[in-house]
């Protein structure tokens, strides 16, 4: 079993305009930088992107926004992005805002073959409008549906040719659920290792969820809010 492809170009083969993509990451942490660059080059457009955030103006999904390749964003939080704001206010960009936990659960459900589930988040708010409500344990819940995507694109720390992945720190975030929910899942990793090097007991994403894998390069890993404390002298 060998799911390796040469690079981002080969990995993104078959991604076409008007497709739905899931992209892992929280803010700029754990985003698939190589594939995003490739999508810009590839110049596909009309994309529906499911991603917790939409990058910043000059980085991450912001790069696709600048080239107007995205038709619709499905996210929980989309601040820190002027071009996003401009396109949204002008009506060029559709935006579907989803509570973060529901977004995570909907991706998980998509990957796990659970077409719908009840969750309390959003009851009594705009998010609940038009959704089925049911009471459990004395509390109202909304029926939420599973999300899937034509391609899921995730970024991991290490992976092997079977597609087994491990993530580092909070760069994990949405990547594991999105890996499950892609009809085709592409994993870019900082380091490709030999099968058996990853301890079977400690793999975050089993390879069965991944169809293509490659070792990315030139990771910038931009920090959005560099916060530090002073050393006591």
């Amino acid at each position: 079993m060998d799911k390796r492809v040469a690079n981002a170009k080969a990995a993104c083969e078959g991604i076409e305009s008007n497709m739905t993509l899931m992209l892992g990451g929280f803010g700029l942490c754990g985003i698939p930088e190589n594939c995003i660059t490739e999508l810009v080059k590839k110049n596909v457009n009309g994309l529906t992107c499911i991603s917790n955030n939409a990058g910043v103006d000059e980085f991450g999904l912001g790069l696709l926004l600048q080239k107007k390749q995205i038709k619709k964003m499905i996210s929980s939080y989309v601040g820190e992005n002027d071009e996003f704001e401009r396109q949204m206010l002008s009506g060029e960009l559709e935006v579907d805002l989803i509570p973060q936990g529901s977004l995570a659960a909907r991706c998980y459900a998509g990957g796990a073959g659970m077409p719908a589930f009840f969750t309390p988040a959003g009851f009594g708010t705009e998010v609940g409008e038009g959704k089925e409500v049911r009471w459990f344990n004395g509390k109202p819940h909304l029926l939420e549906s599973a999300l899937t995507a034509d391609f899921a694109i995730v970024k991991a720390w290490k992976g092997d040719r079977f597609g087994n992945l491990i993530y580092k720190g909070t760069a994990r975030n949405f990547n594991p659920m999105m890996a499950m929910a892609g009809r085709i899942t592409i994993a870019e990793v900082e380091e490709l290792v030999e099968p058996g090097e990853l301890d079977p007991n400690f793999i975050h994403t089993p390879g069965i969820f991944v169809q293509r894998i490659f070792q990315g390069k030139d990771y910038e890993k931009r920090i959005e809010q560099r916060t530090i404390r002073q050393r006591e002298s």
């Binding site: 977004l103 009851f123 998010v127 594991p176 920090i223 916060t227």
Partner: protein, 217 residues
């Protein structure tokens, strides 16, 4: 009248030993600086860490270790990293003992509005809707009035809601208030603030019973 930092300081007094606590962006974040030394709490950040530590020293920032505010952080010994689904399983499953978050408006029934102002750019609710819909113990940390001097403690929220009947307590620059069936119940006054000032600044139903003590910081 309390500073934002003092609001955080007052809320820190609510912390109990061995609690798991989720702190929202803004005033709530400051609470971490005021945890009593004899109280041991673990901070959760909903992007996927339990046991969040202080900001890193300069040069030790790790792009792969951030909090839900996208700030670089550190991890305490015994910390755990997990994915977003697991993180919200903790939240939705009511494993978090206390959630503190900011608000634009709170109603006297415990409704909260903190994510959207019609006509302005909407950034999104992030994890706030999951947190307020699930948490059993929610404290709102905010200024008593907005920048135009209007009360943020209302009979009904005017802004789009984040959650309904969920807030249990509000700590503002003027007062500590519980939310009861009959409205905001005044528990404590900020130093130097009178009950009359609080009454004037509160648009929602306010219950004042007996002597209202001044808070101790």
């Amino acid at each position: 009248m309390l500073s934002k930092d003092q609001i955080a300081q007052r809320i820190a007094q609510e912390l109990q030993n061995n609690w798991y606590v989720n702190l929202g962006i803004g005033i709530p974040t400051l609470i971490a600086n005021h945890v009593p030394t004899d109280v041991n709490v673990v901070f959760q950040s909903e992007n996927g860490i339990l046991g969040m530590g202080p900001f890193p020293f300069e040069g030790e920032e790790d792009a792969d270790l951030i909090n839900a505010g996208k700030q670089t952080i550190t991890a305490m010994p015994g910390a755990v990293i997990f994915d977003s689904a697991t993180s919200f399983a903790m939240i939705r499953g009511q494993h978090i003992n206390l959630t503190v978050l900011g608000a634009m408006e709170v109603s006297d029934q415990g409704d909260i509005a903190n994510w959207k102002i019609p006509g302005r750019m909407v950034k999104g609710m992030g994890g706030a809707m999951d947190l307020v819909a699930s948490a059993e113990n929610i404290i709102v940390a905010m200024m008593h009035s907005n920048k135009r001097g209007q009360s943020k403690l209302l009979r009904q929220c005017s802004l789009p809601l984040t959650g309904v009947k969920c807030v249990k307590k509000v700590v503002t620059n003027l007062a500590v208030l519980d939310i009861t069936d009959k409205g905001f119940k005044l528990l404590e006054r900020a130093p130097g603030v009178t009950v009359e000032e609080i009454e004037k600044a509160t648009a929602g139903r306010l219950i004042v019973e007996g002597d209202i003590p001044e808070m101790e910081l």
